[in-house]
Structures are given as structure tokens and as C-alpha cells.
């Protein structure tokens, strides 16, 4: 079973350790300090071609310490929890702080912003799983995939992962928070072949709750279907056309927004959406909400990495940007209050436009449905976007053939304004939850 055994004892031990470190930092002259202590345990199995490939036991731990001497800051970390290592870490953080500059915006978040309520987020669900069960489940997924279609000729394997962790954060405002969480997943990747064409594709399921994972049969069948339907893909001639991003990729479009309206991009003026609060960046049917309190959510948290209470809020309302993602440092730089996002966005939910995936394909009529993107061709300062893509060419609402070796390009500002529909086929396998997104026009480069 993948569980952090004696986790309540460990929590008590970590509390004492955190208190000692904060005390010791103070004794060394630090005016403020904060500490993270994490421990996790896990099991990963991978099978390939019907036999076990890898069996891995994970056990990780780490301490991160930040000390402040007035407005100067030092950071050190260690994976060794011996008292000598903790002393060395304290010394190292204090040494670093002697050389960093005075920065008036440095410091802990304001004490009145510390979370005081800790609603049950239900993030800890250990799995009654041993290596044999995990192997059996992975073998089942792979065998379903391999038997699904005679064109599945090879496999990259199937895997089951289960992790349980405990994470403590404390600071010298007397804030202390402890989180217990689990995360489990099952994945499968197979290779389809026909003539000279060879294609790989995969599917996975992930959840904090073992019982909420998709079945091995579903994961295997989906992986096989996805690999087979990519066979005999070809390039397109260069053209402009509408582009539909399936939910797994639509998540990335929301992710680029998060990056552009994060505090660090804003204060550095390194964003294509600079000073965008109040700007209508999207059409008015676009609404994006942040909800850190979803029970069992992959991005759920009641406090951020500075102990600041998180909040349910609108990020985009009727197409208009309502707020940034700020931690206390970037908030002070911008003269705004922190939004409780020192550790990034929590759960984000993009509202659909009341259409299904099939409706959205019909709405597109003729264009490119993108199912995979490669490369990192996104300029977060200008919004210029150019990435390798594969997917399906659609004519009059019907898929005509798989596509590969093309790029799709545009500018994120135009792409956001060009959203014409969001389907309800939400992918819940991440902290960003969105359905497929249809963009009216992008440049597709091919042969």
C-alpha cells in the first residue's frame, strides 16, 4: 500500500523541526524566516510487451529554508535531515543573505493575510496497492491496447504510479500549515504501424483518489485508438485555416495566459498582456474562474507557498481580465495586494459556450483539429506563437485524414480574440480544466 506510514507522527516531528529551525534562524540574527519540509513515498511500475520492465520505489525528502535579514534574503536547501545538515543549511542561508542586495519588496507576506481556516480539501487517499497489483493493472492496459487492433505492432509500455506525500510550511509569523496528499496514475503508450508509417500515441488517467481512475481497459483501448488513427498522416500545403485545440492542448492556451498575467511577468514588463487588468483580451463569452477549494482537485490548496489564504475569484469575466496571479513580492512591486498565488495558479475552470465537441467540429466546418504540439515556440513577451503540430484535417465537419509535419503560427493576442467556441468536453486531468477551444484563424505551414 502506498501510504506515508505514521504520517501523523512525521507531521509532529516536522513541526518540531520547523520550530527549531525558525528559532535557530532568529538566534543567528534573522529578522524573519520561512521553512518548507516535504516527504513523499511512491511506487512506479512499468511493463512492456507483456512483462515487467521497471519496478521503482521512491522515497524523497527535502527542506527549503529562506531567511531575511531586514530586506536581504538567503535561501538554502537540503535532502539530509541530520542535525549537522540542518545546521549547515542554516549557516548557508545566512551566508547567502550577507551578499544579496537590500530589496525593500522582500519579506514574508503580511501577517494579516495568513490563512486561518483550513477547509477539508480531501486530498489524501492512499491506495491499497502492492507491486503485484500494480503490475497486473499495467499488464491489463497494455494487453488491451495490443489486442485492440492488428496494426498495433509495438509498445512503449504501460505504467502505474502511486505517490503519497506530506508537506509542511511554517514562517516566523507563527503560521504553520500541513498538507497530506496522494496522486495516482495509470498510463499506456503503444506504436501502430502500417507500411512505412509508424506512429506512437498514449493515454493516461490521474487522480488523487484511486477509485476515480479510468479502468485499465479504457486507458489501453484509448491509447490504441489514438495511435492507429494517426497512421498515414501527411503534411498540408501552407494555408490559413481555423484551428481546434483538443482539451489537453487547450489547457496550454490557458497556461500561456497564466504566465502572461503572473506578477513576475508584469513587474518585469515581460508580458504580451502588460497592464491588462480591465482589458478585453477575449470575446465576451469567455469566463475563467480560479477555485482553490475543489475537493480532491489536483490544484487545490487553502494557502499558498507563503501561507497566504487562497481565494475563489474571477480571472476573466466577459472576456475582461479581472486580476493577476501575485505572490507578496510581485504584489508589492506592483503596489497591489497578494492574490495568494505565490505558488502559481490553483484550479482554473474555463466556462464552455454550451456546445459539445461534435458541435464545435461542425462549427469549424473546414480546418485543423490539433491533437499534439511539439517544441517551445512561444514568445511570452510578444505573444508570437509557432509550434510543430499534428492532428486531423477536417472538411465540412468530417475528419478527412491525419496530419503531421506542419506548424501552426499566430500571435496569442489574436488567438485569444479569435476564440469562437469552447466545448464542454472538459479534461479534468490537471489543475487547468477546459474543453476544446476553436480559434477562427491561424497560419499552417507545411509542404
Amino acid at each position: 500500500m502506498i501510504e506515508l506510514e505514521k504520517r501523523f507522527d512525521i507531521a509532529t516531528e516536522f513541526q518540531a523541526m520547523a520550530e527549531r529551525m525558525l528559532e535557530a534562524a532568529k538566534a543567528r540574527g534573522a529578522t524573519a524566516a520561512e521553512v518548507d519540509i516535504d516527504k513523499s513515498t511512491g511506487l512506479s511500475v512499468e511493463v512492456r510487451m507483456g512483462t515487467v520492465d521497471k519496478l521503482q520505489y521512491h522515497r524523497d525528502q527535502g527542506i527549503n529554508l529562506t531567511v531575511y535579514f531586514g530586506h536581504r534574503k538567503g535561501f538554502a536547501s537540503t535532502g539530509d535531515f541530520s542535525s549537522q545538515a540542518l545546521e549547515d543549511t542554516l549557516d548557508a542561508a545566512c551566508r547567502i543573505a550577507r551578499y544579496t542586495s537590500e530589496d525593500e519588496f522582500n519579506g514574508l507576506a503580511d501577517p494579516e493575510r495568513m490563512a486561518t481556516e483550513f477547509p477539508k480539501l480531501d486530498l489524501y487517499h492512499p491506495w491499497e496497492l502492492d507491486a503485484e497489483m500494480a503490475i497486473e493493472m499495467a499488464l491489463q492496459a497494455e494487453s488491451v491496447a495490443r489486442e485492440h487492433d492488428s496494426r498495433i505492432t509495438n509498445s512503449e509500455g504501460a505504467g502505474v504510479d502511486s505517490h503519497a506525500g506530506l508537506s509542511l510550511y511554517a514562517n516566523s509569523h507563527d503560521f504553520m500549515g500541513i498538507r497530506h496528499s496522494t496522486r495516482h496514475s495509470l498510463s499506456c503508450a503503444v506504436v501502430a504501424q502500417e507500411g512505412d508509417s509508424m506512429q506512437r500515441d498514449y493515454w493516461y488517467t490521474v487522480s488523487r483518489v484511486p477509485g476515480h481512475l479510468e479502468s485499465a481497459d479504457t486507458v489501453g483501448a484509448e491509447a490504441a485508438q489514438r495511435a492507429v488513427r494517426r497512421l498515414n498522416a501527411r503534411s498540408l500545403s501552407t494555408r490559413e485555416a481555423p484551428v481546434l485545440f483538443v482539451p489537453q492542448l487547450a489547457r496550454g492556451l490557458v497556461g500561456h495566459l497564466v504566465g502572461a498575467i503572473s506578477g513576475s511577468a508584469q513587474y518585469r514588463k515581460a508580458s504580451f498582456l502588460l497592464d491588462s487588468i480591465g482589458q478585453k483580451v477575449f470575446p465576451e463569452f469567455v469566463h475563467l474562474r480560479e477555485d482553490p477549494y475543489i475537493r480532491q482537485g489536483l490544484g487545490s490548496r487553502s494557502y499558498d507557498s507563503e501561507g497566504v489564504a487562497t481565494q475563489v475569484r474571477d480571472i476573466v469575466k466577459e472576456g475582461v481580465i479581472q486580476g493577476y496571479f501575485l505572490g507578496s513580492y510581485s504584489a508589492r512591486k506592483l503596489g497591489m495586494p497578494t492574490t495568494g498565488n505565490a505558488s502559481g495558479s490553483s484550479n482554473l475552470l474555463l466556462a464552455d459556450t454550451g456546445v459539445s465537441f461534435v458541435d464545435l467540429i461542425q462549427q469549424m466546418g473546414t480546418g485543423l483539429m490539433v491533437t499534439e504540439l511539439i517544441g517551445h515556440g512561444i514568445n511570452s513577451i510578444t505573444g508570437d506563437y509557432s509550434r510543430g503540430a499534428s492532428g486531423y484535417w477536417v472538411e465540412n465537419g468530417m475528419i478527412t485524414h491525419p496530419v503531421e509535419e506542419v506548424t501552426i503560427a499566430g500571435n496569442l493576442r489574436d488567438m485569444y480574440q479569435g476564440i469562437v467556441g469552447i466545448a464542454d468536453d472538459v479534461d479534468e486531468r490537471g489543475s487547468i480544466r477546459t474543453g476544446s477551444i476553436l480559434i477562427n484563424k491561424m497560419t499552417i505551414a507545411g509542404q
Partner: protein
């Protein structure tokens, strides 16, 4: 002189009171009659980094990572466990967990350890963290800031960083081989944001390798990196939309060798080929590149970022010919995949840390020089683009499709460099892109020491390089369709 093995004994055995005899005990738990390979990988790494932004030293960090990874391999099957604590009970527990990969009972032992050392050391053993005073480290970053700001009034932001890593590793394997390595790694990076008439752009520059931090001061690298970053950012301010479609592309020398890393390098890693999932599987002896093209993976270059005296399995690194005169010659192997394919490791078994399993990975991958001058190559193109610098890439090894993104590029018209064009992604097909190379430059250059390669969630430092190349027909992913 103190040897790597002495550093290793000091780091791993002395503090926990461990002896080599204890390791025999660990192996007696790890080995059974199915075992084909087993090893312990001890690692101790110290990292220090400094960051400048807005003219001040905003961040500094120090961290220690140490632990031991325990691996038991039975043919294709691998059992693995690791511990951040280096002690006999932790080692025995990890050995027990890793050996669960086989049901065969314990059998076999290691009775004597033999220390092996590589025939040559490619870098020094000094601790780079101590190679400069804190004042000098910070002074270097401040120098970058002032040079960048003095270079152009349009510079708005300068972010500079310096990182030093000192790593000690010890590998003990089932044959009784005991190999240690002490590895320095440093890197400096500068990123600038420029603004002019409401237009904003950015660029980065940097370098590093397996040496001490004084490299940056002695070579006046602050000036080189700062001026290079500002130059590239200003060029991007002038850039107009890149074209879209297939065209002739001239790639600059040095870092654009990322083409080789993505287009063919990953596809020639032994694991994908053993499993038959690479577009290059089963193609040894076939022509996969134009005549005249020779590509090697060379882990033996002194002090390069991708170099290693021994890989993470204790195998001495080598220069492996991947493609010779256009013909596919060989793959890159770690011990496990080599054994399964009936060959020897090429010294490409690498891992991110003790908490990760080794895999076949590249070291420094580059193409040997040809006979043409760069100017001659550019002059040969009627209409196309010249891509002088790239930001990175990715590959789908099964379909062979790869991308890499230009960060500095120009139009070529009538054999002359024209207007700069915006960042665009280039896409191609690994197994045939090199068959379209029609001219190879005489100006082979390796990158400045900035490469990081990601595979299966593991990052390792690598190098790339190439001479200037002309490729006839590569798809350029711009927005200008006319």
C-alpha cells in the same frame, strides 16, 4: 595526489562508518541467478547560484543533494530503489526492494572490489563553488548588468545568473568494479529585455562547462554574453513576420547543431532502437544523410559541458560515430541496452541523479566540418532563410518528426542576408532531413556550453555543434503566407 576515489570514500563511507565489506553484504542481497547487472550509485552534489535583476543581487541559493541509488537488472527487467540517507540499514532496505524484480532466490556475491580509474581525466577536481570569492561572483553579474545597459539605451531589464555545481559520484557494480568521478559544472546566463517605441523583445546568451568560475572573469565573458544578448534582442526589434512554408534554410554553426540532437540524436539512442520504437530502428548501414556528412557523439572533449570522464555506470566515455559519410553507423548505448543487443556500452549511460535510473543519453553531439565557407553557402541561395541561432527543440522519435525554434534569423535574397525575421519554429523529418543537406561549411563550432537535454523527465547537461549547413526544403513555421 588525491584521487577521485579518495573524495568518494571521504564523502560516502567515512561519515556513515561504512566499509567496502559492508557493500559486499549489500550485493549479497541484491544479486540472484537472474541478475545481469547490478549497481550502487552514490552521489553528493552541492549547488550554488546567484541571480541579478533590476541591477541588484536579488537571489542566492545553496543546496546539498546526496543519496544512493540501488539497481538490479535481470535482462530487460529493472528493479530500483534509492535513499537520501547513506547508511547500511538504508542500503540493505533499498537492495531488498530493488531485488524484488526477480523471484529467484539470492545467489552470487562480490568478494573483492577493484578500483578502476579512467585512462584520462577531462576536467579538474577543484570545487568550483570555492573558485571565486562571493564578491567576485556578484561583481561578475553586476558587470554584465552595466555592460548590457551601456550597450544600448533600449535595454529595459537585465537578468543575469551564475551557477556552480560540484559533484562526487561513486559507482560499485556486480563485477566488483568501483569507479569514482569528481565533476565540476558552471554556467552563466544573461537575459535582456529591450523596448523601443512600445515594441518589446528579449534575448539570452551565456556559456559554461566543466571548469572553475574564473573562466568567466579571465575570458571577459561578462562583455561577450551581455553584448551578444543585447545584439540579438535589438535584431528581434527590427524583425518582421517570418515566412510560412517549405524553403531553403541555411543554419549557422555552433548552437544550431541542436538540429542534430533532435533530428537524429534521440532517434539513435539504444533504448528506442532495442525496443524498435525509433524511426531509425534497424537501419544501420543505410544512407540517412547526404554524402560527406559525418556525425559523432563525443564524450571525451576536455572540459565541455556534455563531457564525462566516465558515464554514470562507470564506463569510460568515447567518441561514437553515428553517421559516417552519410551512412548510419551506430547507436548510443548504456550497459543494459548494449547487453540486450549483444554489444558494448558506448559510455552513454547517464542519469539526472541517484534518484533516477540511467538511460542512453547524448554527450556532445556534432557534425564534422565540410569544405565550404559560410559566405559561399549563403551566397548560393536565391531565396531562403538564414537561421543563426535557436532556442531549443523537440522530437517525436517514433514518427521522426522534429522541431527547433529560431531565435535569430534573416531572409536570404539573391545570395545576400536581408531583413531579420521573427522567431519561427522549423519542422522536419529526422530520417530524411540530412539527405537534403547540399552544402557543409568548413567552420565547425561547438556551442558555448548551455545545453540541457530532457528525456523521460530527466535532465542532463549536453553539448551540440555543427558547421554552417545548407538544407534544401525545410518547413518554416512563420505567419507570412504570401
Amino acid at each position: 595526489m588525491k584521487q577521485a576515489i579518495d573524495f568518494a570514500r571521504e564523502a560516502f563511507f567515512a561519515p556513515a562508518g561504512l566499509t567496502e565489506h559492508n557493500m559486499e553484504q549489500v550485493f549479497s542481497h541484491l544479486l540472484n541467478k537472474d541478475t545481469t547487472l547490478a549497481d550502487l550509485y552514490f552521489q553528493s552534489a552541492r549547488y550554488e547560484s546567484w541571480g541579478l535583476e533590476e541591477g541588484i543581487i536579488k537571489s542566492g541559493s545553496y543546496s546539498i543533494e546526496q543519496g544512493v541509488g540501488v539497481r538490479s537488472v535481470c535482462g530487460e527487467q529493472t528493479g530500483f530503489a534509492y535513499s537520501g540517507e547513506i547508511s547500511l540499514p538504508a542500503l540493505l532496505e533499498s537492495a531488498k526492494a530493488a531485488s524484488a524484480i526477480s523471484r529467484a532466490g539470492q545467489s552470487g556475491s562480490v568478494n573483492a572490489w577493484k578500483v578502476t580509474a579512467p585512462s584520462r581525466h577531462l576536467y579538474g577536481m577543484d570545487d568550483p563553488l570555492d573558485s571565486l570569492s562571493e564578491t567576485d561572483k556578484i561583481g561578475f553579474l553586476q558587470q554584465i548588468d552595466s555592460i548590457a545597459r551601456a550597450t544600448s539605451p533600449y535595454v529595459q531589464q537585465v537578468m543575469a545568473s551564475m551557477v556552480a555545481v560540484h559533484e562526487i559520484i561513486l559507482i560499485m557494480d556486480e563485477s566488483g568494479r568501483m569507479t569514482a568521478d569528481v565533476r565540476p559544472l558552471v554556467r552563466a546566463n544573461v537575459s535582456v529585455i529591450v523596448q523601443r517605441k512600445g515594441e518589446t523583445e528579449s534575448a539570452t546568451a551565456g556559456g559554461g562547462g566543466r571548469f572553475n568560475l574564473d573562466f568567466f572573469l579571465n575570458g571577459d565573458k561578462a562583455r561577450e554574453y551581455a553584448e551578444d544578448a543585447v545584439r540579438k534582442a535589438l535584431i528581434n526589434l527590427d524583425a518582421s513576420a517570418a515566412p510560412a512554408g517549405s524553403m531553403t534554410v541555411v543554419l549557422g554553426n555552433g548552437w544550431p547543431g541542436v538540429l542534430l540532437h533532435e533530428a537524429i540524436g534521440h532517434g539513435l539512442e539504444g533504448d528506442f532502437n532495442r525496443k524498435g520504437t525509433s524511426a531509425f530502428a534497424g537501419r544501420i548501414g543505410e544512407q540517412v544523410a547526404a554524402k560527406g556528412i559525418t556525425v559523432v557523439d563525443d564524450g571525451t572533449l576536455e572540459m565541455r559541458r556534455g563531457s564525462l570522464s566516465v558515464d554514470d555506470e562507470g564506463t569510460e566515455t568515447q567518441c561514437t560515430t553515428l553517421i559516417e559519410d552519410g551512412i548510419l553507423k551506430g547507436y548510443m548505448f548504456d550497459r543494459q541496452n548494449a547487453a540486450l543487443m549483444g554489444t558494448n556500452s558506448t559510455g552513454n549511460g547517464r542519469r539526472q541523479s541517484y534518484a533516477h535510473l540511467p538511460m542512453p543519453r547524448m554527450t556532445n553531439t556534432y557534425m564534422r566540418a565540410g569544405g565550404h565557407a559560410a559566405e559561399e553557402i549563403i551566397a548560393s541561395v536565391d531565396k531562403g532563410i538564414y537561421a543563426a541561432n535557436f532556442s531549443g527543440g523537440q522530437v517525436d522519435i517514433t514518427s521522426g518528426k522534429f522541431v527547433f525554434s529560431a531565435s535569430e534569423a534573416y531572409m536570404i535574397e539573391n545570395g545576400k542576408l536581408g531583413r531579420p525575421i521573427k522567431n519561427a519554429t522549423l519542422i522536419g523529418n529526422g530520417p530524411d532531413v540530412l539527405t537534403r543537406v547540399s552544402m557543409i561549411g568548413n567552420d565547425l563550432q561547438l556551442d558555448t556550453g548551455i545545453g540541457v537535454c530532457g528525456k523521460d523527465g530527466q535532465s542532463v547537461p549536453v553539448g551540440v555543434g555543427q558547421p554552417t549547413l545548407r538544407i534544401d526544403g525545410l518547413t518554416v513555421g512563420g505567419t507570412a503566407t504570401a
